[in-house]
Subunit: 375 residues, 2 copies
C-alpha cells in the first residue's frame, strides 16, 4: 500500500452503476474500465511486448505462481524485475498465486500459516504464505499486487466457504501489516471471497474495507457458476464497496461479461479467454463469436471483421487464417490473438465512451443485439 491514491473516479454514468476513472500508476495513467491481458509467464501468449503496446495496452497481468516456478526468482532478480526481462515499460499487476495454487496443483496442504503445494511440472514442493507472496511480487516488480487468498470451488458448502473467507480476511490483515514494512511498496488490493453466499460475500467485503486497501478484487467468481449468480454477486459487491477505490473482477473477460459487469460498477478485469479462444480459432466480432476453422471460411477473402484496425484484419483473410489453423502454423494462433486483443481493447474504449456520454443502457442493448444476432 502506498501513501498516494491509486484510483480517481472521474465520472458516474447517469443510468447505471458504470463509472469512469483513472489508475494513476508509475508507468502511465490507465483509463478505467480496463481489461488486462494475461501474460502468464511474462508473455501474453504469441505476443511480443512491442505488439501489446502497439494495440494500446498499458497494463497487463502476470501470474505470480508461474513466474515463481519459471523462470524463478533468481533469474528475475538478475534482470531486476520481470518487466526488464520481458521488456515491458508500462504497468504490471500480479495475482498472488492463491487461485493458481488451488486450481493447478493436485497436491496442496493449507492451514492458517500458509499453503504447501507441488509444482505440477517437476513435483517439487513449495510454501506460500501472505508475507512470502508479497516478497515474491516485490521481486517480480509489479505495480499492483494481490494478497494470498483462499479461493474455493463452487462445489464447496457454506461452512467451508466461511472458513476460507475468514482465512482470506486474516491473511489480508497480515498482508496489509506486512506491506507497511516494505520500502517503496506496490499498491495492494484486498480480495473478497465468500463463494456464492451473499451473506459471506458481504461479511468479506466489510472486513476488507475495514482494513483499507488500495483497491478491491472480487475473487472466486467465473469459476463455473452460472452468469446470473456471477452478476448478482458482483452487483451485491459493488453496492457496498467504497466508491473511491478501484474494483477488480478477477478472471472475467468475455465480451458480454465485460459489458454487463461494467454496468454493475466494475473497473478492472483480467481473463485468459480472449487469448485462449484465439488459439482455438475462436475470434470475437461485433456480430458475435466466429469459428475460423469452420469450412465456410475456406475461400473467404474477407478479414475477420471489416473495419477492424488489427494487424490480422488489415493484412489477412479468413480463408488464409483458416488454412493456417488447419495446417497448425503458429502464425494462425498469433493472428487470431492479435485480433481478439484488439477487439477487447476497442470494446473497452467503446464502453468508456458510452459511459462518458451517459448512454450505457442503449450501448448495452445495441451490443447484445449485434453480438447475439441470429444469422
Amino acid at each position: 500500500m502506498q501513501n498516494r491514491e491509486l484510483y480517481y473516479l472521474t465520472k458516474k454514468e447517469k443510468n447505471t452503476k458504470a463509472r469512469l476513472g483513472e489508475l494513476r500508476l508509475a508507468h502511465g495513467v490507465v483509463q478505467t474500465p480496463v481489461f488486462m491481458p494475461v501474460g502468464t509467464i511474462g508473455t501474453v501468449k504469441t505476443m511480443s511486448s512491442i505488439e501489446m503496446a502497439k494495440i494500446g495496452y498499458e497494463l497487463i497481468l502476470n501470474n505470480t505462481l508461474h513466474l515463481f516456478l519459471r523462470p524463478g526468482l533468481d533469474i528475475i532478480k538478475e534482470f531486476k524485475g520481470i518487466k526488464n526481462m520481458i521488456r515491458w515499460n508500462k504497468n504490471l499487476l500480479t495475482d498472488s498465486g492463491g487461485y493458481q495454487v488451488f486450481s493447478l496443483s493436485d497436491f496442496r496442504h493449507i492451514n492458517d500459516d500458509g499453503v504447501i503445494f507441488k509444482d505440477p511440472m517437476t513435483g517439487s514442493k513449495h510454501f506460500f504464505n501472505p508475507e512470502i507472496v508479497i516478497d515474491i511480487q516485490k521481486i517480480i516488480g509489479s505495480d499492483i499486487i494481490m494478497p494470498l487468498d483462499e479461493c474455493t470451488p463452487t462445489s464447496v458448502d457454506k461452512s467451508y466457504s466461511k472458513i476460507a473467507k475468514d482465512r482470506t480476511t486474516r491473511w489480508a490483515k497480515r498482508s496489509r501489516d506486512y506491506i507497511k514494512t516494505i520500502e517503496d511498496p506496490p499498491f495492494l488490493f484486498g480480495i473478497t471471497q465468500g463463494n456464492m453466499y451473499e451473506d459471506l460475500r458481504k461479511e468479506s467485503i466489510l472486513e476488507l474495507v475495514d482494513l483499507d486497501f488500495d483497491g478491491y478484487s472480487i475473487g472466486g467468481l467465473s469459476v463455473g457458476e452460472n452468469k446470473e449468480i456471477m452478476y448478482s454477486i458482483t452487483d451485491i459487491s459493488t453496492a457496498i464497496l467504497p466508491e473511491n477505490k478501484a474494483r477488480y473482477l478477477m478472471g472475467v473477460g468475455s465480451p458480454e461479461d465485460l459489458v454487463e459487469t461494467v454496468g454493475l460498477g466494475i473497473d478492472m478485469f483480467d481473463c485468459v479467454m480472449p487469448t485462449r479462444n484465439a488459439r482455438n480459432g475462436s475470434v470475437f466480432t461485433h456480430f458475435g463469436k466466429m469459428n475460423l476453422i469452420n469450412a465456410k471460411h475456406k475461400t473467404s477473402q474477407l478479414p475477420i471483421e471489416e473495419g477492424c484496425p488489427c494487424f490480422a484484419c488489415q493484412n489477412y483473410s479468413r480463408g488464409y487464417i483458416r488454412h493456417l489453423f488447419k495446417t497448425r502454423e503458429m502464425l494462425g494462433y498469433q493472428l487470431a490473438t492479435v485480433h481478439n486483443l484488439t477487439y477487447i481493447f476497442n470494446l473497452m474504449k467503446e464502453i468508456r465512451k458510452a459511459i462518458e456520454e451517459d448512454r450505457y443502457p442503449m450501448f448495452k442493448k445495441k451490443f447484445y443485439e449485434l453480438y447475439f444476432h441470429k444469422e
Copy 2:
C-alpha cells in the same frame, strides 16, 4: 519458359567463380546470389508476409506438393493464386514436388508416365506427371517453376542413378515442350541429377543445357552426402553450366555452405535449415551457431548478436528468449526465426558486397575464422 531473359550476369569476381547478377522478375528485380526462405504451405513458419518483406526478402519458395494437398487447388484457384492468399506481392518460386514425393511419401510408384504417391496425412492417392506439375504451379501462380524430376538418395547405385537421371531428362523435355503451350508462362528451370557420379552429373547437365531452360537447378545434393562431395559436384556442375543462366543449388543454406558454394558460382539457394534450426533454439551469429536453450544464457541480458538489426535483437535478450523456449512460448520460436532469417539475408548482402569489391577469398577466410572460432 518466357521469351525474355530471367538472369543477367552483372559481375564476375576476380579470384573465384563467384558472380553477381539479377533475376528480372515481374514482381521486382532480385539481386543474386540470393537465399530464398522456405514457406512450405505458403507461410515461412512463424512469419507473416509483412515481416518477411520488412527483413528485405523479395523472393520466397513454396512447396508445390504441400500446397497441392493443403489448402488444395480449388481454394488456391478461388484466391487466384497463393500469393493473394498469403498476401505476398513479391516473387515466388515453387519446386515441382519431385523431391517431396520421394522424401515424404512412404508409398510411391514411378514409371515414365509419372509418379503415384500417397498423402502422408490422409492416405489419399495422387498422380503427378511433368505436365500436371506445371499446371499445378501455374495455378499456384509462381514466377519461377521447376519441372518434375526423380531425386535419388545417396544409397542408390550407379545403374539406378542413371535410370533416374535419364528419366529426369526425358521429363525435362516434356516439361519444356508443354510449357510452350501455356499462356503467360512462368520461368522454367531444368533440374540436373546424377546422384554423386561425376559422369552422370555431366551428362545430365549437357542434356538439359541442350534443351535450353531459363535457369538450372542442381538437384539431389544436400541429402546426407559429405560436404566435400557436395562442393565437388557443385564445382563440376558450374564449370559446364552456361554463364548466362542462373544456377540454383537446391536445399542448401547453412551459412558455411552459402559462403562456399557462392565461391563455386551458385546464384540461388533455398533451405529450411535457418527456420528449422531457429525453432530448435539454434541461432546463427557471425561467431558461429548459438544454442539459446543452453543454461549459460539464463540471465544474459545481451541480444542474440550485438549490432544485429532484427526485431529480436533490437528488443529482447538471450535470457528472455531462453525462458520462452523453456516454457514453449510461441514467441520464442518467432524471435529465433526472425533473427536467423535476418542473419542469412544480411550474410547474402555481405557476400554480394565482397564479390562487388573483388575480395571474395579474403571475405571467406574471415568468415570461417569468426564462424568456427574456438571460444
